[in-house]
């Protein structure tokens, strides 16, 4: 038993040394991207598996972005599907009606980006009520927002009304999903370990004290909501071009609930947790598919058990060293060395 732990620790240390190496991340990105491009062009991963990975990626983006609001900022937003819907519709309208077919592949990232920006702008609107209201009342605002988006889309015939939009090309490929997933995880992790991220955490801990310690809470809330909804929009655009068809019912409260579950399953306020939650939820749902309707009974039951025994989720409020920035540790180490040096020099 002790030998097992020893091996585990050696492996962990080797892993930390590897990932701490300066070139790890660029190499990982390029290798990963290369793998995905190869996989989708040469199809040595079968199409079904690729589709699963695409959905895993999309769910990771959704979960990490919602975790910013629900986990790090401590709010309870149930409107994430609304932002996803905005991104999906904007991106789809662009590729179906605006971009000529010959350049669709080329301009696809721009369409996705446009979806994200549109969702981000709406996110800014939702941030405004958050200045004065908190907690359950803000939850209602986000809930109402989600339902309003859905009803508005159902009523606009130009975007297909209740029947939805179709005709999107299957532009979402594994390499694109990999790119956007890694980008969103990286950007949100950057935000969390910056001044603004600390501001978000301080709002969760004690908003009034935070205000009094020079944190501009309005600015922080706006940043958090805009970034969160931006990435939800990106995920929406990717989703639309994987499914090739969207309608308003896909983005109702049930979808928001799905994302919520992934966040709390993986662990609030944790990037690794968001990834774990998204991966487990998506893959588990696929594995349990043969169970038919019993699948959706088993899943919530497991969720309830998890909440009873681990209320904050699998990685609740903890983070892997992978995502914690090295620079903080380095700065602190340098500082301590300097202090020690000064202490040694002066007897």
């Amino acid at each position: 038993m002790a030998k097992l732990f020893a091996t585990y620790y050696t492996l962990l240390t080797r892993w930390h040394t590897l990932t701490g190496c300066k070139y790890f991340w660029p190499v990982f990105m390029i290798a990963g991207l290369g793998f995905c491009i190869a996989a989708s062009t040469f199809e040595f991963l079968d199409l079904y598996l690729q589709l699963i990975l695409i959905y895993v990626g999309i769910n990771i983006i959704l979960t990490v972005s919602l975790n910013l609001i629900n986990g790090y900022m401590g709010e309870f937003s149930v409107g994430h599907a609304g932002f996803m819907a905005m991104g999906a519709y904007i991106a789809s309208l662009l590729t179906v009606h605006v971009i000529p077919p010959s350049v669709q592949n080329l301009l696809f990232p721009l369409a996705i980006l446009a979806g994200g920006i549109g969702a981000g702008l709406i996110g800014f609107l939702v941030a405004i009520p958050s200045f004065k209201t908190r907690g359950d009342y803000l939850a209602i605002v986000t809930l109402a927002f989600c339902m309003i988006v859905k009803s508005v889309l159902e009523n606009i015939d130009a975007v297909g009304g209740p029947r939805g939009l179709l005709g999107m090309e299957k532009l979402t490929t594994l390499p694109w999903v990999f790119f956007w997933t890694v980008l969103s995880v990286w950007v949100i992790r950057n935000l969390v370990y910056s001044n603004f991220g600390r501001g978000v955490l301080s709002i969760r801990e004690d908003e009034i004290a935070s205000d009094l310690m020079s944190v501009d809470t309005r600015q922080v809330k706006i940043i958090a909501f805009v970034v969160s909804s931006f990435f939800a929009g990106i995920a929406g655009g990717l989703f639309a071009h994987a499914l090739q068809f969207i309608n308003p019912r896909m983005f109702d409260i049930l979808k928001s609930t799905d994302i919520l579950i992934m966040v709390y399953l993986g662990g609030i306020a944790s990037i690794a947790g968001s990834i774990i939650g998204a991966v487990i939820y998506t893959i588990l749902l696929e594995i349990l598919r043969p169970l038919g309707v019993w699948r959706m009974m088993l899943m919530p039951l497991m969720l309830v058990l998890l909440m009873i025994y681990r209320p904050r989720g699998i990685m609740g409020m903890r983070e892997t060293r992978l995502f914690e920035p090295l620079r903080d540790l380095v700065t602190e180490k340098l500082w301590r060395n300097k202090k020690k040096g000064a202490a040694d020099a002066a007897p």
């Binding site: 001044n195 600390r198 501001g199 009094l212 310690m213 020079s214 944190v215 700065t331 500082w335």
Partner: protein, 256 residues
């Protein structure tokens, strides 16, 4: 030139007058004490100065600038910081982060730079981390820099809260019952500590306190509140013998 001028400050909560006609002028580097029985409105005055509440009437001027109506973080940016009666640290955050957050107003990079780690981001983060660690080491808290604030013992938590307030770079520091829950030895240490803070950081200090030894020991001037009204103002020795003050604390019959 007075650092802080409060005149006619009055605040009502739905019919109850919490503070009425509070007046105070403070010169830089003074150490003022605000005392009075529980519920007298002392913390309310702090809340009014720092912008948590907007005063119903009256004016508060910092360096001749009116601050009534400003948001709390704007007032903090102008140089007023405070601690709280019931410690309000960011419990789940590390000691280092608690202090780093207080540097929010001094950060020179934009959100875009933070999101993409470009531009001034790395340099600024290094600067703030070093500044925070320097401050912590002055307060002898640097060894627990990585600990969660909630895991610190009570005395260190109080110290951290003061360190955090000082990290915002204030000219005026408001301390709300810094010696709460301390035994006589700790109170003596706190008295030295406060004197040391005033000298090292050259701040003006206003202090709310119930521990009379501390108040009489270090305050240069006192203001006494009771039921929102100022019943006495002056030097500690005068206040000690003021019958109205004794009445407020001990009750009419005892004084009689």
């Amino acid at each position: 030139m007075p650092l802080l001028e409060i005149s006619g400050l009055t605040h009502r909560f739905a019919g109850l007058c919490a503070v009425s006609d509070f007046n105070l002028a403070i010169e830089p580097h003074e150490l003022i004490g605000v005392i009075g029985p529980n519920g007298a409105g002392k913390t309310t005055v702090f809340n009014l100065i720092t912008g948590v509440y907007r005063a119903s009437e009256g004016s508060i001027k910092l360096n001749k600038q009116e601050i009534v109506g400003l948001t709390p973080h704007a007032i903090t940016a102008l140089g007023i910081a405070r601690t709280f009666q019931n410690i309000r640290l960011f419990k789940e955050l590390s000691v280092l982060d608690n202090v780093r957050i207080a540097h929010y107003g001094q950060i020179a990079y934009t959100p875009a730079e933070a999101l993409l780690h470009i531009g001034r981001f790395r340099a600024e983060e290094r600067r703030i981390t070093n500044q925070a660690l320097d401050l912590l080491s002055v307060f002898k808290l640097d060894d627990s820099a990585g600990e969660k604030a909630k895991n610190l013992p009570y005395g260190l938590q109080r110290r951290l809260e003061i360190a955090r307030a000082l990290a915002t770079g204030p000219g005026l520091l408001l301390l709300d019952e810094p010696a709460a829950g301390m035994n006589p030895n700790e109170i003596i240490q706190m008295m030295e500590f406060i004197g040391w803070i005033r000298k090292t950081f050259s701040v003006t200090i206003i202090l709310i306190e119930h521990q009379m030894r501390l108040v009489m020991g270090i305050c240069e001037r006192l203001v006494v509140l009771d039921f929102g009204a100022t019943i006495a103002q002056g030097l500690p020795a005068e206040i000690q013998n003021n019958p109205k003050v004794m009445e407020a604390y001990l009750g009419e019959e005892v004084v009689q």
